[in-house]
Subunit: 522 residues, 2 copies
């Protein structure tokens, strides 16, 4: 597949007068094709086509929509090395990571294909009539339908799994919603390759081209125009807090407000319980440094803050972390902008009152991130709100607390998080039991004895959490429950069988279904 | 139970310096007790107590929370005539309606009690670990938890079923969320009686008083303070579009934005298909007038607009409607303000270009609503956006269309609705089949051969719909699915059994549960 640098508007490639070029992440140099910057007309045309495609996509039989998603997966797989090599150059991420991420992306598409066929997301309900009741009880049947066209903003840090055919796109298409993707300007070629695979699958399925569009561009105005287009019904976003908040404002200010699912900012607190720390301070320190420096720290689930209790074991942990981090090589960050923001964020962290540098990895070019561990005591942390700000990259802060009461105090004032982690052994369970209710309130996922970087794509995953971890803590952007974001319920009262959606007709035996309150499965 | 006029703040009655008095709906005269106007301190104290009560209420065993809801229902039942007589005087609604509404209110509480025990709302999911996989797959378990304290705004038009212990309160308590109700000032005595029943049930269950508070007052500032309190996690509202939009703005402007479930404005289009109209123009006309004048037209599902095709049958329908409406007596509206707004709204409608009065009921006092049917042609309707505005009360507009294409055109530009109705016989099904996809997009409930006034409280009901029918079309405020508004998912990774919530522990056999993707029921 050749990269042409064009946008995909409603199934056709379209060029533009204004263009930009991709950058090689490692060198910072521009290279290759000129990418077309989408105009307001492109946005409008893509959204209009998406609105037209809503009917055909959302009324496709489950098996056919599943087949379409599987075909998208197969075509992305078929891109093979072309895709990973391009992504390596644009993002600076290593080959093994990108090969893994490609596997995750296609696995995700296949999981949603299975999910459509499984049918639980339809939430089918049938309440039979009772004509003998006073007043007569009507027949009521419920299913969920696609919300409408979804705007998806590709993320820089997951060029495949949270970008053009990532979790937001996969779950929206699974729900029957056409998608208009704003490609992340940090990986335009990667975006185009994946978009080409989707567009081919759309055509092969005989679906209208409006099912999928891809728009290039870096300006805030482009994103704003997309969110404000009256045909867009919901927004999926993974990125910075400032970016997510701007999209929320635009969506709320529309004549018809729409939901925004923005995954924004999280420092993912990790609590090292005292008995566990006594047993394994050294191993914990190594694993900690591994987690915080993985992918140059560019994960939303990066362990940005660790809480320990002051004492000998905590000192051992810090010493171990200092030793481990010294071995971490400098590595290229996703973009020059991210590297610069990391540098100023970590410098500010290090210069904060009461904060000391524990250790750092090798220093690289200005495009690299240098791994860093800092520490402060609980009082210093509580005295400075800024210490809880996310520093996107391989930096983390160990907060050495006076006692468990101070740990509670810190967690209770903390903003919403994607994850919260407890490292513990059995002797820690009584103290941990008092923390679990606090952590449930704080985060979307509570983890025991693991590090938060690692998000399983499955049914019971929640990659979400209270604001500002996400804009809407009632949802997840990873795992099959993500489909729930893009549907809404419709009830049919006394509708003749001929006019009912097929799964709701008497005798069709579509499962699961709740009949007169009782849930029945296949 | 004696009415004292006090607020309920965190389980205790509390008076205030400033007060107001209830009005007799029929006479417009003030009567009875002085009601305490809640202060900012009362709001803050109620919200603080609600935050403290969240843990105890949300961790109560399902059976115990169900028993609590059933006790609330029993105590409201026990209020008997005291409650209905007071509500009659404050709202002007007739006894039979209020007795029915009391039945609906307690039935609703009992339905949610059953729903908690049934357990589907928890959305339990278990994905077992696979240590042999590379990388090892963790154990993940998911449940939904209470969102947090909920602010509920009582509605004027359902003094029981959508007020202090109405659908929003019942579903929030069922989810485990403490509730702070802002009583509607049009029925403060009714509100206090019901609040007393809830407060007694809270005490009897040994729950903290913060589980429920009731605040009196009519100012916008009171509502704003409640929505902006940092401890409030969600808002339930039924009322005017202006009121709902204001709450949405306040919620979005908070440092931590929260969801607002506002049920606002709907004109509930009814389409009379040609073969049906030919068969039953007279019967349809009578039933139409019955539906639009029921409860003095003060239902959110009132049929505010009827679409017919021009011709002899449409003329017969209009003649029948004119005849039937002449028999409708004038009746007291809920408040003087509502009567006044209805008068000016219907006058404006009648004075609109191309709109003619078809017939009207008896005229009453300035506190009464006079039933009115208007008509215009399709072109006139399309030319004037104002004709699609809700006129809250017993007025309705028949739009006589040129052809089915014009019916489609009108429905496609219409704003989101709670309901959309088709009256049809078999010969109409082919044309109806092309309308159903349009109506699904337009409304939360699609009705065949009935009138929209009548909302069954059951599992498959959707009382919701796209904006501006509601602020959030992804939800319903009636029926068991309403509980989904007040929960969010939490995932537990590799959590030891001792620290897992009980329903997620291995071998507990809590159903329904999705195990490794497969849904299992009891």
């Amino acid at each position: 597949m050749t990269i042409t640098g064009e946008n995909f508007v409603a199934g056709a490639r379209r060029s533009a007068a204004e263009t930009f070029r991709a950058k090689d992440a490692a060198s910072g140099e521009e290279f290759g094709e000129a990418f077309a910057i989408a105009s307001e007309t492109d946005v409008s045309d893509a959204c209009a086509a998406a609105a037209t495609a809503l009917g055909p996509l959302s009324t496709l039989k489950a098996a056919d929509r599943a087949a379409f998603l599987r075909d998208v997966a197969a075509r992305i797989d078929a891109l093979g090395d072309t895709l990973t090599q391009r992504a390596m150059r644009e993002t600076g991420l290593p080959e093994a990571r990108l090969t893994g991420e490609r596997g995750r992306t296609v696995g995700q598409l296949r999981l949603f294909a299975d999910e459509i066929e499984q049918g639980g997301w339809l939430d089918l309900r049938v309440d039979h009539a009772d004509p003998a009741r006073t007043p007569p009880k009507p027949d009521l049947r419920l299913r969920k339908i696609a919300l409408g066209p979804v705007a998806v903003f590709g993320a820089s840090n997951f060029p495949l799994a949270f970008s053009v055919a990532g979790g937001d796109t996969a779950s929206a298409l699974a729900a029957g919603c056409p998608v208009v993707v704003k490609a992340h300007p940090a990986h335009p070629g990667t975006s185009e390759l994946v978009a080409g695979a989707i567009a081919e699958a759309v055509a092969a399925a005989g679906l209208p081209g409006g099912v999928f569009s891809l728009l290039h561009g870096a300006s805030n105005e482009l994103g704003e125009a997309l969110v404000k287009d009256p045909r867009i019904a919901a927004v999926g976003f993974t990125g910075s807090r400032a970016g997510g908040l701007a999209l929320m404002r635009h969506a709320a200010a529309r004549p018809v407000p729409i939901p925004v699912y923005a995954e924004m900012s999280s420092i993912n607190p990790v609590i090292l319980m005292p008995h566990k720390l006594a047993e394994a301070a050294g191993d914990l320190a190594k694993a900690y440094v591994g987690s915080l420096s993985m992918g140059v720290g560019q994960f939303c689930t990066n362990p940005g803050i660790v809480l320990t209790l002051a004492g000998h074991d905590s000192d051992r942990f810090l010493a171990g972390a200092a030793e481990a981090i010294a071995e971490v090589p400098a590595a290229t960050m996703l973009t020059g902008g991210i590297a610069q923001a990391f540098d100023s964020g970590s410098t500010k962290l290090g210069a904060s009152a009461g904060v000391r540098l524990i250790g750092a990895g090798a220093e690289g070019s200005s495009l690299c991130g240098r791994a860093q561990v800092y520490a402060c005591d609980g009082a210093a942390f509580l005295a400075d709100e800024g210490l809880a700000d996310e520093v996107f990259g391989p930096a983390s802060l160990v907060v050495v607390c006076d006692d468990m009461a101070q740990v509670h105090q810190i967690l209770e004032v903390m903003e919403g998080q994607l994850t919260a982690t407890l490292h513990m052994v059995k002797a820690d369970y009584p103290a941990a039991a008092t923390l679990v209710p606090v952590l449930e309130r704080l985060a979307g996922r509570v983890i025991a004895n693991a590090w938060p970087t690692g998000v399983e794509v499955t049914h019971a995953m929640v990659h979400g959490g209270p604001f500002p971890a996400t804009s809407d803590g009632r949802s997840t952007s990873v795992g099959t429950m993500a489909i729930d974001r893009f549907v809404r319920p419709v009830s049919y009262q006394d509708m003749p069988a001929e006019l009912l959606p097929r799964p709701l007709r008497e005798g069709v035996d579509w499962f699961p279904v709740r009949i007169d309150g009782k849930l029945k499965v296949r």
